[in-house]
Amino acid sequence: MSLTREEVEKVSLLARLRLSEAELDQMTRQLGTIVEYVELIAEVDTTGVEPMAHVADVANVFRDDEVRPSLPRDEALRGAPNHDDECYRVPAVMGD
């Protein structure tokens, strides 16, 4: 199955990427080739095979409910591209 340009455009919004017309064309072509290749896995009989999300057989790792020092606010905000003395700033998101 190959991807359409419209699908790629839709995915670019989901991925919050803005692609130029030329990039969309190239991306459609390249993703198409790769997707076609990975569809090789469709031929494997996976009946009854448990998906393997973790390779290490580790479970139940917890920390105790203890408060540890937070970052000083100026240090937390220092690297933000747009901030005031208290908060990160972004274009208005109300109603988004």
Partner: protein, 489 residues
């Protein structure tokens, strides 16, 4: 004349768990701190950081699931729910998708005012997830900005999802009231809606009867519900609005995408919220940074055993063991576990559940309310109040004098005897009492005649006069002696 229909309601409740630290890092969850003072590289989602699960949050969640009769999964995992929003710093929320830690519970909803029959509302699931931060629109002149505070980001939340079993807005409110009570009994959350510790979204649609065929209308999700009363009002409004829309458009479920509406409680209306279709493609997948949790059947059994008596069970016990009515048991149980414990001790010691219930509701709870204190802070112990009730029951004090004594005990933290002494209450000796009664009979021939004519109630007036002359007399004794003397005339 509108068409016959049924209202179908399901609720999603987010409850903040009562942990000291966040779900995946050590930042404090304390409410009300200055913006962005309770964050660290993990909850800011800085690159390379990794989450580590808070054991207490999982324990509280399991306790809740046990109390809500959920099946608890022996294996549970964490998934990422991917979406972009500036208050979600990793651009995914760690949540649970296809293997939540618990499913299929339920809660019995009853109405103390008995406007509805008790109903069992099934739960689809209870799962754990992390909260997002807060976006605040900046109203400052000329700025079209939002400000982001991440203090709340990563706070542990439990999401409770009901089946669409709820049939009326009233039922929705009663369900929430009972759920909140259960959660506060368990100590898993403070359920403070003002601080955002408990948040409710409602899904509602109608099943309209079209001459025997049931037609489902499109489902609407209602948000921005800031109190249980607002939930009820919003759902009442929505049910009417949806019927109007249906009658106008004939739209059925599936004809239009699911709509999200925000409730404006002041205006009493719901309004459509902006909603992009793509935003609901959350691309869930197992979070590779967090290992799964396994719990044994024994641990689950232990969690169930540790739940203790739930509010519904306590109500039933108060009714069964102390003969209380449904209304009274509800008031006491709704007052919280500490109040129930106070009642239990009081009723045991006083040997009279109804008397204990009356005093508790009419006197103790009023005092708590007036003084804005909890039962734990109430100065009169159950043992001391029980002594007072014994005197009232024995006729040594009447209700009003008893109240005076209680007020004194509350005010000065003294025992019953000391309070009575300070009020100058002492027993009147028998001879003095007989003399007083004779005096009253002589002075009130009309009353005597009424009593002799068979109106025993008329003797009440004599008791009133006796108390004016000596506030310490035992009204029961006065009555007994007066009746004896009149009889003997």
């Amino acid at each position: 004349m509108s068409k016959p229909h049924e209202v179908i309601i399901g609720l999603e409740i987010h409850v903040q768990l009562a942990t000291r630290s966040k779900l995946f890092c050590g930042c404090s969850t304390q409410f009300g701190a200055e913006p962005n003072t309770q964050t660290c590289p993990v909850c800011i989602g800085m690159p390379g950081t990794l989450p580590v699960m808070n054991r207490r949050a999982y324990e509280l969640a399991v306790r809740t699931a046990a109390a809500l009769d959920c099946e608890i999964a022996e294996f549970t995992k964490w998934d990422r729910k991917n979406y972009y929003y500036p208050d979600l710093p990793k651009a995914y929320q760690i949540s649970q998708y296809d293997l939540p830690f618990s499913e299929n519970g339920g809660l019995l909803v009853h109405d103390p005012k008995q406007q509805i029959e008790p109903r069992f509302i099934r739960l689809i699931r209870v799962h754990l997830e992390e909260d997002a931060g807060k976006s605040m629109h900046d109203e400052a002149a000329g700025r079209d900005d939002s400000r982001i505070d991440l203090n709340r980001a990563g706070t542990p939340l439990m999401e409770v999802v009901t089946q669409p079993d709820i049939r009326t807005p009233l039922e929705a409110r009663l369900f929430l009231t009972e759920l909140k009570l259960v959660l506060t009994y368990l100590g898993v959350s403070d359920c403070n809606m003002q601080e955002g510790s408990l948040r409710v979204d409602a899904n509602i649609n109608l099943h309209v009867d079209e001459g025997g065929e049931t037609v489902a209308t499109p489902i609407v999700e209602v948000k921005n519900l800031n109190s249980f009363r607002a939930v009820e009002r919003a759902l009442e409004y929505e049910a009417v609005r949806q019927l109007d829309v249906y009658e106008e458009t004939g739209q059925r479920i599936g004809d239009v995408p699911k709509q999200t509406r925000g409730w404006d409680d002041a205006a009493g209306v719901s309004r459509a919220m902006r909603h992009k279709e793509e935003s609901s493609d959350y691309r869930y997948f197992p979070d590779p940074d967090l290992v799964p949790v396994r719990i044994t059947a024994e641990q689950i059994a232990a969690a169930r055993a540790a739940v203790g008596e739930r509010p519904a069970e306590l109500r039933a016990r108060l009714e069964r063991e102390f003969g209380l009515g449904g209304y009274d048991s509800d008031v006491i149980v709704n007052g919280g576990r500490e109040l129930v414990d106070y009642f239990l001790e009081l009723a045991e010691r006083a040997g009279d559940g109804k008397l204990a219930s009356n005093w508790l509701q009419q006197d103790v709870m009023r005092a708590l309310n007036d003084r804005a204190i909890t039962i734990g802070e109430y100065p009169v112990s159950a043992a001391a109040l029980a002594e007072l009730l014994a005197k009232v029951k024995g006729g040594e004090l009447d209700r009003n004098r008893g109240r005076d004594v209680l007020a004194d005990m509350e005010a000065h933290g003294r025992g019953v005897e000391a309070a009575m002494a300070s009020l100058g209450i002492e027993s009147v000796d028998d001879d003095a009492l007989v003399a007083l009664c004779r005096e009253l009979i002589a002075a009130n021939p009309a009353i005597v005649a009424d009593v002799q004519a068979g109106k025993a109630k008329a003797a009440g007036a004599l008791i009133g006069q006796a108390r004016q002359k000596n506030p310490n007399v035992n009204p029961g004794e006065v009555r007994r002696i007066c009746l004896e003397l009149i009889e003997a005339m």
